[in-house]
Protein backbone atom coordinates (compact mmCIF):
# COMPACT_ATOMS: atom_id res chain seq x y z
CA UNK A 1 0.00 0.00 0.00
CA UNK A 2 1.17 3.54 -0.58
CA UNK A 3 -0.49 6.85 0.15
CA UNK A 4 -0.02 10.56 -0.21
CA UNK A 5 -2.34 13.39 0.69
CA UNK A 6 -2.01 17.14 1.06
CA UNK A 7 -4.24 18.22 3.92
CA UNK A 8 -3.90 16.25 7.14
CA UNK A 9 -1.13 14.32 5.47
CA UNK A 10 1.58 16.16 3.62
CA UNK A 11 3.78 14.49 1.07
CA UNK A 12 3.53 11.11 2.73
CA UNK A 13 4.87 8.34 0.58
CA UNK A 14 4.84 4.99 2.29
CA UNK A 15 4.68 1.29 1.52
CA UNK A 16 2.86 -0.69 4.16
CA UNK A 17 3.30 -4.44 4.30
CA UNK A 18 0.12 -6.51 4.39
CA UNK A 19 1.58 -8.96 6.89
CA UNK A 20 2.45 -8.83 10.56
CA UNK A 21 1.54 -5.81 12.67
CA UNK A 22 2.48 -2.38 11.36
CA UNK A 23 2.00 0.22 14.08
CA UNK A 24 1.31 3.78 12.99
CA UNK A 25 2.58 5.78 15.93
CA UNK A 26 2.59 9.46 16.73
CA UNK A 27 0.76 12.18 18.68
CA UNK A 28 -2.90 12.98 18.07
CA UNK A 29 -3.39 15.12 14.96
CA UNK A 30 -0.37 13.49 13.35
CA UNK A 31 -2.52 12.15 10.50
CA UNK A 32 -2.67 8.50 11.57
CA UNK A 33 -6.47 8.14 11.36
CA UNK A 34 -6.52 10.10 8.10
CA UNK A 35 -4.08 7.61 6.62
CA UNK A 36 -6.25 4.66 7.72
CA UNK A 37 -9.38 6.25 6.25
CA UNK A 38 -7.56 6.68 2.94
CA UNK A 39 -6.54 3.04 2.97
CA UNK A 40 -10.16 1.90 3.45
CA UNK A 41 -11.34 4.60 1.00
CA UNK A 42 -13.67 6.23 3.49
CA UNK A 43 -11.79 9.32 2.29
CA UNK A 44 -9.96 10.04 -0.95
CA UNK A 45 -6.78 12.10 -1.27
CA UNK A 46 -6.97 15.60 -2.77
CA UNK A 47 -3.73 14.83 -4.55
CA UNK A 48 -1.63 11.75 -5.02
CA UNK A 49 -2.83 8.20 -4.94
CA UNK A 50 -3.47 5.20 -2.73
CA UNK A 51 -2.57 1.81 -4.13
CA UNK A 52 -3.46 -1.68 -3.01
CA UNK A 53 -1.40 -4.62 -4.31
CA UNK A 54 -0.14 -2.40 -7.11
CA UNK A 55 -3.52 -1.04 -8.28
CA UNK A 56 -4.80 2.48 -7.71
CA UNK A 57 -7.89 2.42 -5.48
CA UNK A 58 -9.64 4.58 -8.10
CA UNK A 59 -9.58 1.58 -10.39
CA UNK A 60 -10.68 -1.05 -7.88
CA UNK A 61 -14.22 -2.03 -6.88
CA UNK A 62 -14.49 -0.09 -3.62
CA UNK A 63 -16.88 -2.55 -1.94
CA UNK A 64 -14.65 -5.53 -2.68
CA UNK A 65 -11.61 -3.54 -1.57
CA UNK A 66 -13.17 -2.69 1.79
CA UNK A 67 -13.81 -6.37 2.42
CA UNK A 68 -10.14 -7.15 1.76
CA UNK A 69 -8.89 -4.21 3.79
CA UNK A 70 -11.21 -4.14 6.80
CA UNK A 71 -11.41 -1.45 9.45
CA UNK A 72 -12.02 -1.34 13.19
CA UNK A 73 -12.73 2.04 14.73
CA UNK A 74 -11.70 3.73 17.95
CA UNK A 75 -15.25 3.64 19.35
CA UNK A 76 -16.97 0.24 19.21
CA UNK A 77 -19.55 0.50 16.43
CA UNK A 78 -21.86 -2.40 17.25
CA UNK A 79 -25.26 -1.99 15.58
CA UNK A 80 -28.58 -2.74 17.33
CA UNK A 81 -29.34 -6.48 17.45
CA UNK A 82 -27.64 -9.61 18.71
CA UNK A 83 -23.96 -10.42 18.45
CA UNK A 84 -24.81 -12.87 15.65
CA UNK A 85 -26.75 -10.12 13.82
CA UNK A 86 -23.66 -7.95 13.98
CA UNK A 87 -21.45 -10.59 12.43
CA UNK A 88 -24.02 -11.41 9.76
CA UNK A 89 -24.02 -7.76 8.76
CA UNK A 90 -20.62 -8.54 7.24
CA UNK A 91 -21.44 -12.06 6.04
CA UNK A 92 -25.21 -12.68 5.81
CA UNK A 93 -24.87 -16.36 4.86
CA UNK A 94 -22.76 -17.31 7.89
CA UNK A 95 -24.26 -20.13 10.00
CA UNK A 96 -24.14 -20.29 13.80
CA UNK A 97 -21.09 -22.58 13.84
CA UNK A 98 -19.10 -20.13 11.74
CA UNK A 99 -20.20 -17.26 13.99
CA UNK A 100 -19.11 -19.19 17.09
CA UNK A 101 -15.77 -20.00 15.48
CA UNK A 102 -15.15 -16.34 14.70
CA UNK A 103 -16.16 -15.29 18.20
CA UNK A 104 -13.62 -17.78 19.49
CA UNK A 105 -10.81 -15.94 17.68
CA UNK A 106 -11.57 -12.86 19.77
CA UNK A 107 -11.98 -14.89 23.00
CA UNK A 108 -15.79 -14.71 23.21
CA UNK A 109 -17.61 -17.99 23.89
CA UNK A 110 -20.76 -19.36 22.22
CA UNK A 111 -22.88 -17.88 25.03
CA UNK A 112 -22.48 -14.47 23.38
CA UNK A 113 -24.18 -15.53 20.15
CA UNK A 114 -27.66 -14.28 20.98
CA UNK A 115 -26.78 -11.56 23.44
CA UNK A 116 -27.81 -7.98 22.74
CA UNK A 117 -24.69 -6.35 21.33
CA UNK A 118 -25.54 -2.96 22.81
CA UNK A 119 -25.70 -4.38 26.35
CA UNK A 120 -22.13 -5.73 26.31
CA UNK A 121 -19.19 -4.01 27.99
CA UNK A 122 -17.01 -1.71 25.89
CA UNK A 123 -14.29 -4.36 25.58
CA UNK A 124 -16.74 -7.07 24.58
CA UNK A 125 -18.40 -4.80 22.05
CA UNK A 126 -15.02 -3.93 20.54
CA UNK A 127 -14.23 -7.65 20.25
CA UNK A 128 -17.57 -8.21 18.48
CA UNK A 129 -16.61 -5.43 16.05
CA UNK A 130 -13.25 -7.08 15.50
CA UNK A 131 -14.91 -10.45 14.79
CA UNK A 132 -17.37 -8.69 12.49
CA UNK A 133 -14.51 -7.20 10.47
CA UNK A 134 -12.85 -10.62 10.32
CA UNK A 135 -16.10 -12.06 8.95
CA UNK A 136 -15.36 -10.55 5.52
CA UNK A 137 -12.17 -12.61 5.49
CA UNK A 138 -9.85 -9.60 5.07
CA UNK A 139 -6.20 -9.69 4.07
CA UNK A 140 -5.45 -6.71 6.29
CA UNK A 141 -7.33 -5.07 9.15
CA UNK A 142 -6.90 -1.35 9.79
CA UNK A 143 -7.32 -0.68 13.50
CA UNK A 144 -7.76 2.91 14.63
CA UNK A 145 -6.72 2.90 18.32
CA UNK A 146 -9.33 0.23 19.11
CA UNK A 147 -8.20 -0.17 22.72
CA UNK A 148 -7.76 3.50 23.63
CA UNK A 149 -11.01 3.64 25.61
CA UNK A 150 -10.67 0.18 27.21
CA UNK A 151 -9.26 -0.92 30.56
CA UNK A 152 -5.93 -2.85 30.72
CA UNK A 153 -7.63 -6.28 31.00
CA UNK A 154 -9.82 -5.72 27.96
CA UNK A 155 -6.84 -4.31 26.09
CA UNK A 156 -4.72 -7.39 26.92
CA UNK A 157 -7.42 -9.74 25.59
CA UNK A 158 -7.63 -7.85 22.30
CA UNK A 159 -3.86 -7.63 21.92
CA UNK A 160 -3.54 -11.39 22.48
CA UNK A 161 -6.18 -12.07 19.82
CA UNK A 162 -4.49 -9.75 17.35
CA UNK A 163 -1.08 -11.34 17.91
CA UNK A 164 -2.59 -14.79 17.39
CA UNK A 165 -4.33 -13.66 14.21
CA UNK A 166 -1.16 -12.00 12.89
CA UNK A 167 0.95 -15.12 13.40
CA UNK A 168 2.26 -16.08 9.93
CA UNK A 169 2.08 -19.75 10.93
CA UNK A 170 -1.41 -19.43 12.42
CA UNK A 171 -4.69 -20.50 10.90
CA UNK A 172 -6.02 -17.04 9.99
CA UNK A 173 -3.00 -14.95 9.04
CA UNK A 174 -4.37 -11.43 8.95
CA UNK A 175 -2.09 -8.43 8.55
CA UNK A 176 -2.66 -5.41 10.79
CA UNK A 177 -2.14 -1.71 10.45
CA UNK A 178 -2.58 -0.58 14.01
CA UNK A 179 -2.78 3.05 15.05
CA UNK A 180 -1.52 3.75 18.55
CA UNK A 181 -0.26 6.70 20.54
CA UNK A 182 0.77 4.37 23.39
CA UNK A 183 4.52 3.64 23.31
CA UNK A 184 4.22 0.54 25.50
CA UNK A 185 1.51 -0.93 23.29
CA UNK A 186 3.63 -0.17 20.23
CA UNK A 187 6.51 -2.07 21.79
CA UNK A 188 4.27 -5.05 22.64
CA UNK A 189 2.65 -5.35 19.21
CA UNK A 190 4.78 -3.93 16.45
CA UNK A 191 6.52 -5.98 13.78
CA UNK A 192 7.43 -2.55 12.40
CA UNK A 193 6.67 1.04 13.33
CA UNK A 194 5.94 4.02 11.11
CA UNK A 195 5.93 7.22 13.13
CA UNK A 196 3.93 10.20 11.88
CA UNK A 197 4.18 13.75 13.12
CA UNK A 198 2.40 16.82 11.76
CA UNK A 199 1.17 14.91 8.70
CA UNK A 200 4.65 13.71 7.76
CA UNK A 201 6.58 10.51 8.35
CA UNK A 202 9.07 11.18 11.13
CA UNK A 203 10.70 7.75 11.47
CA UNK A 204 10.50 4.03 10.68
CA UNK A 205 11.82 1.07 12.58
CA UNK A 206 11.88 -2.63 13.61
CA UNK A 207 11.29 -5.71 11.39
CA UNK A 208 14.23 -8.10 10.77
Amino acid sequence: MGASDQRRLDNVSVDISASGITVLAGPSGAGKSTLLRLLNRLDVPDQGSVRWQGSDLDELDVLAHRRQVGMVFQKPTAVPGTVADNLRLAAPAMDDDAVVELLDTVALDAGFLNRNALELSGGERQRVCLARTLATNPVVVLADEPTSSLDPDATAIIEASVQRLADPNGRHRVGWVWVSHDAEQTERLASRVIALDGGRISSRGLDD
Binding site: G70, T77, T133
Partner: protein, 260 residues
Protein backbone atom coordinates in the same frame (compact mmCIF):
# COMPACT_ATOMS: atom_id res chain seq x y z
CA UNK B 1 -73.45 32.96 -1.70
CA UNK B 2 -75.39 31.36 1.16
CA UNK B 3 -76.87 32.52 4.44
CA UNK B 4 -73.46 31.87 6.05
CA UNK B 5 -71.81 34.59 3.96
CA UNK B 6 -70.44 36.95 6.63
CA UNK B 7 -70.29 40.09 4.44
CA UNK B 8 -68.12 43.11 5.02
CA UNK B 9 -69.85 44.11 8.24
CA UNK B 10 -69.44 40.59 9.56
CA UNK B 11 -65.79 40.63 8.60
CA UNK B 12 -65.29 43.89 10.45
CA UNK B 13 -67.08 42.54 13.52
CA UNK B 14 -64.91 39.40 13.51
CA UNK B 15 -62.00 41.83 13.72
CA UNK B 16 -63.09 42.31 17.36
CA UNK B 17 -61.31 39.00 18.03
CA UNK B 18 -58.05 40.48 16.77
CA UNK B 19 -58.72 43.29 19.24
CA UNK B 20 -59.18 40.74 22.03
CA UNK B 21 -55.82 39.16 21.14
CA UNK B 22 -54.21 42.58 21.06
CA UNK B 23 -55.61 43.60 24.46
CA UNK B 24 -54.53 40.31 26.03
CA UNK B 25 -50.99 40.71 24.67
CA UNK B 26 -50.86 44.25 26.09
CA UNK B 27 -52.20 43.14 29.48
CA UNK B 28 -49.54 40.43 29.64
CA UNK B 29 -46.92 42.86 28.24
CA UNK B 30 -45.83 40.29 25.68
CA UNK B 31 -44.32 42.95 23.42
CA UNK B 32 -45.87 41.39 20.32
CA UNK B 33 -48.70 43.85 19.65
CA UNK B 34 -47.12 45.05 16.42
CA UNK B 35 -46.68 41.49 15.15
CA UNK B 36 -50.33 40.71 15.88
CA UNK B 37 -51.55 43.72 13.91
CA UNK B 38 -49.17 42.97 11.03
CA UNK B 39 -50.14 39.27 10.98
CA UNK B 40 -53.87 40.03 10.98
CA UNK B 41 -53.47 42.66 8.27
CA UNK B 42 -51.25 40.43 6.13
CA UNK B 43 -53.69 37.53 6.38
CA UNK B 44 -56.50 39.86 5.29
CA UNK B 45 -54.64 41.33 2.33
CA UNK B 46 -53.03 38.07 1.16
CA UNK B 47 -56.27 36.12 1.32
CA UNK B 48 -58.25 38.87 -0.40
CA UNK B 49 -55.76 38.85 -3.26
CA UNK B 50 -55.82 35.05 -3.40
CA UNK B 51 -59.60 35.13 -3.29
CA UNK B 52 -59.81 37.47 -6.26
CA UNK B 53 -57.20 35.48 -8.19
CA UNK B 54 -58.89 32.20 -7.34
CA UNK B 55 -62.16 33.66 -8.59
CA UNK B 56 -60.55 34.09 -11.99
CA UNK B 57 -59.03 30.61 -11.99
CA UNK B 58 -61.99 28.57 -10.80
CA UNK B 59 -64.68 30.29 -12.84
CA UNK B 60 -66.49 27.74 -15.00
CA UNK B 61 -65.51 29.36 -18.29
CA UNK B 62 -61.89 30.17 -17.41
CA UNK B 63 -59.33 28.12 -19.37
CA UNK B 64 -57.64 25.21 -17.57
CA UNK B 65 -54.19 26.64 -18.32
CA UNK B 66 -54.66 29.08 -15.41
CA UNK B 67 -55.28 26.15 -13.10
CA UNK B 68 -52.10 24.45 -14.24
CA UNK B 69 -50.11 27.65 -13.81
CA UNK B 70 -51.53 27.99 -10.32
CA UNK B 71 -50.50 24.41 -9.43
CA UNK B 72 -47.01 24.87 -10.86
CA UNK B 73 -46.43 28.10 -8.93
CA UNK B 74 -47.62 26.43 -5.71
CA UNK B 75 -45.13 23.61 -6.23
CA UNK B 76 -42.30 26.05 -6.98
CA UNK B 77 -43.12 28.26 -4.01
CA UNK B 78 -43.37 25.25 -1.69
CA UNK B 79 -39.99 23.95 -2.89
CA UNK B 80 -38.43 27.32 -2.24
CA UNK B 81 -39.96 27.29 1.26
CA UNK B 82 -38.53 23.84 1.97
CA UNK B 83 -35.10 25.12 0.91
CA UNK B 84 -35.44 28.05 3.32
CA UNK B 85 -36.65 25.92 6.24
CA UNK B 86 -34.07 23.16 5.79
CA UNK B 87 -30.87 25.06 5.05
CA UNK B 88 -28.57 22.27 6.17
CA UNK B 89 -30.13 19.84 3.69
CA UNK B 90 -28.05 19.48 0.51
CA UNK B 91 -29.91 20.33 -2.71
CA UNK B 92 -33.10 20.83 -0.68
CA UNK B 93 -34.86 23.05 -3.22
CA UNK B 94 -34.22 20.84 -6.21
CA UNK B 95 -35.13 17.67 -4.33
CA UNK B 96 -38.31 19.26 -2.97
CA UNK B 97 -39.28 20.32 -6.49
CA UNK B 98 -38.84 16.75 -7.76
CA UNK B 99 -40.67 15.34 -4.71
CA UNK B 100 -43.70 17.63 -5.02
CA UNK B 101 -43.91 17.02 -8.74
CA UNK B 102 -43.86 13.26 -8.17
CA UNK B 103 -46.50 13.57 -5.45
CA UNK B 104 -48.67 15.75 -7.69
CA UNK B 105 -48.47 13.21 -10.50
CA UNK B 106 -49.30 10.28 -8.21
CA UNK B 107 -52.04 11.79 -6.07
CA UNK B 108 -53.75 14.10 -8.55
CA UNK B 109 -53.31 11.35 -11.14
CA UNK B 110 -55.35 8.97 -8.98
CA UNK B 111 -58.01 11.49 -7.96
CA UNK B 112 -58.54 13.01 -11.39
CA UNK B 113 -57.30 10.26 -13.67
CA UNK B 114 -59.63 7.70 -12.10
CA UNK B 115 -62.51 10.15 -12.00
CA UNK B 116 -62.84 10.64 -8.23
CA UNK B 117 -63.10 14.37 -8.86
CA UNK B 118 -63.86 16.19 -12.05
CA UNK B 119 -60.75 18.00 -13.38
CA UNK B 120 -61.81 21.65 -13.08
CA UNK B 121 -60.17 24.70 -11.55
CA UNK B 122 -62.68 24.52 -8.72
CA UNK B 123 -61.42 21.06 -7.68
CA UNK B 124 -57.80 21.03 -8.84
CA UNK B 125 -56.68 24.24 -7.16
CA UNK B 126 -57.94 23.52 -3.63
CA UNK B 127 -56.91 19.86 -3.75
CA UNK B 128 -53.47 20.77 -5.12
CA UNK B 129 -53.15 23.32 -2.32
CA UNK B 130 -54.00 20.74 0.35
CA UNK B 131 -51.57 18.31 -1.21
CA UNK B 132 -48.66 20.72 -1.40
CA UNK B 133 -49.34 22.41 1.93
CA UNK B 134 -49.41 19.20 3.91
CA UNK B 135 -46.60 17.53 2.00
CA UNK B 136 -44.42 20.58 2.62
CA UNK B 137 -44.43 20.12 6.38
CA UNK B 138 -43.78 16.38 6.09
CA UNK B 139 -40.99 16.96 3.57
CA UNK B 140 -39.19 19.47 5.77
CA UNK B 141 -39.40 17.12 8.77
CA UNK B 142 -38.22 14.13 6.73
CA UNK B 143 -35.38 15.98 5.00
CA UNK B 144 -33.99 17.49 8.19
CA UNK B 145 -34.34 14.21 10.04
CA UNK B 146 -32.58 12.24 7.28
CA UNK B 147 -29.64 14.64 7.27
CA UNK B 148 -29.50 14.67 11.08
CA UNK B 149 -29.37 10.86 11.13
CA UNK B 150 -26.53 10.82 8.62
CA UNK B 151 -24.60 13.44 10.57
CA UNK B 152 -25.19 12.03 14.07
CA UNK B 153 -24.79 8.36 13.15
CA UNK B 154 -21.72 8.76 10.96
CA UNK B 155 -19.82 6.23 13.14
CA UNK B 156 -22.33 3.45 12.52
CA UNK B 157 -22.83 4.29 8.85
CA UNK B 158 -19.09 4.30 8.17
CA UNK B 159 -18.70 1.06 10.12
CA UNK B 160 -21.18 -0.56 7.72
CA UNK B 161 -19.46 1.02 4.71
CA UNK B 162 -16.09 -0.25 5.97
CA UNK B 163 -17.54 -3.79 5.90
CA UNK B 164 -18.15 -3.37 2.18
CA UNK B 165 -21.86 -2.59 2.37
CA UNK B 166 -23.11 -0.27 -0.39
CA UNK B 167 -24.19 3.17 0.79
CA UNK B 168 -27.94 2.56 0.42
CA UNK B 169 -27.70 -0.52 2.67
CA UNK B 170 -25.37 1.20 5.12
CA UNK B 171 -27.87 4.04 5.49
CA UNK B 172 -31.14 2.04 5.26
CA UNK B 173 -31.80 1.59 9.03
CA UNK B 174 -31.32 5.32 9.60
CA UNK B 175 -33.43 6.25 6.61
CA UNK B 176 -36.28 4.06 7.88
CA UNK B 177 -36.09 5.76 11.26
CA UNK B 178 -36.25 9.21 9.68
CA UNK B 179 -39.17 8.32 7.39
CA UNK B 180 -41.09 6.80 10.28
CA UNK B 181 -40.63 10.02 12.25
CA UNK B 182 -41.98 12.02 9.34
CA UNK B 183 -44.95 9.78 8.57
CA UNK B 184 -46.19 8.87 12.03
CA UNK B 185 -47.70 12.32 12.84
CA UNK B 186 -49.62 12.17 9.56
CA UNK B 187 -50.97 8.73 10.38
CA UNK B 188 -51.83 9.82 13.92
CA UNK B 189 -53.79 12.82 12.69
CA UNK B 190 -55.56 10.62 10.14
CA UNK B 191 -56.64 8.36 13.00
CA UNK B 192 -57.76 11.20 15.26
CA UNK B 193 -59.82 12.97 12.62
CA UNK B 194 -63.48 13.45 13.51
CA UNK B 195 -62.85 12.55 17.14
CA UNK B 196 -60.29 15.12 18.20
CA UNK B 197 -60.74 17.70 15.48
CA UNK B 198 -62.89 18.50 12.50
CA UNK B 199 -60.72 18.99 9.44
CA UNK B 200 -60.67 22.28 7.55
CA UNK B 201 -62.13 21.26 4.22
CA UNK B 202 -65.12 19.60 5.84
CA UNK B 203 -65.67 22.50 8.24
CA UNK B 204 -65.56 24.90 5.33
CA UNK B 205 -68.05 22.86 3.30
CA UNK B 206 -70.47 22.57 6.20
CA UNK B 207 -70.22 26.32 6.84
CA UNK B 208 -70.97 26.85 3.17
CA UNK B 209 -74.17 24.83 3.57
CA UNK B 210 -73.14 21.50 2.05
CA UNK B 211 -74.79 18.37 3.45
CA UNK B 212 -72.42 17.01 6.20
CA UNK B 213 -72.33 13.49 4.78
CA UNK B 214 -71.33 14.83 1.39
CA UNK B 215 -68.73 17.05 3.11
CA UNK B 216 -67.36 13.97 4.88
CA UNK B 217 -66.99 12.08 1.60
CA UNK B 218 -64.96 14.93 0.14
CA UNK B 219 -62.93 15.24 3.31
CA UNK B 220 -61.99 11.56 3.27
CA UNK B 221 -60.79 11.92 -0.30
CA UNK B 222 -58.72 14.90 0.81
CA UNK B 223 -57.21 13.01 3.75
CA UNK B 224 -56.17 10.07 1.64
CA UNK B 225 -54.72 12.57 -0.82
CA UNK B 226 -52.65 14.13 1.95
CA UNK B 227 -51.49 10.76 3.25
CA UNK B 228 -50.45 9.60 -0.22
CA UNK B 229 -48.70 12.84 -1.03
CA UNK B 230 -46.72 12.93 2.23
CA UNK B 231 -45.62 9.33 1.66
CA UNK B 232 -44.63 10.10 -1.94
CA UNK B 233 -42.75 13.34 -1.24
CA UNK B 234 -40.84 11.91 1.71
CA UNK B 235 -39.89 8.78 -0.25
CA UNK B 236 -38.62 10.74 -3.22
CA UNK B 237 -36.81 13.11 -0.87
CA UNK B 238 -35.23 10.09 0.88
CA UNK B 239 -33.97 8.60 -2.38
CA UNK B 240 -32.64 11.93 -3.61
CA UNK B 241 -30.95 12.80 -0.34
CA UNK B 242 -29.25 9.42 -0.13
CA UNK B 243 -27.76 10.12 -3.54
CA UNK B 244 -26.78 13.64 -2.52
CA UNK B 245 -25.12 12.65 0.75
CA UNK B 246 -23.10 9.72 -0.52
CA UNK B 247 -20.56 9.67 -3.33
CA UNK B 248 -20.75 7.21 -6.20
CA UNK B 249 -17.89 5.27 -4.57
CA UNK B 250 -19.86 4.80 -1.34
CA UNK B 251 -18.38 7.46 0.89
CA UNK B 252 -20.47 9.61 3.23
CA UNK B 253 -19.84 13.26 2.36
CA UNK B 254 -19.14 15.90 4.97
CA UNK B 255 -22.43 17.46 6.12
CA UNK B 256 -22.75 21.02 7.42
CA UNK B 257 -23.86 21.41 11.05
CA UNK B 258 -27.36 22.73 11.76
CA UNK B 259 -27.72 26.49 11.98
CA UNK B 260 -30.01 28.16 14.56
Amino acid sequence: MTDTDIGLVGLAVSGILVGVTLVLSLVWRLGIAREIVVAAARALVQLLIVGVALGLVVEDDSPLIWTWLWLVSMVVFASWTVGRRAREVPQARLLALVSFTAAAVVTLGVLFGLGVFEPRGQTMVPLGGMMVGNAMTGTVVAARRIVAEARDQRDLIEARLALGLPSNEAFAPHLREALRTALVPQIESTKAVGIVFLPGAMTGLILAGVDPVEAVRIQIGVMYLVLGSVATTTSVMALGLTRAMFTADHRLRWLPPVEN
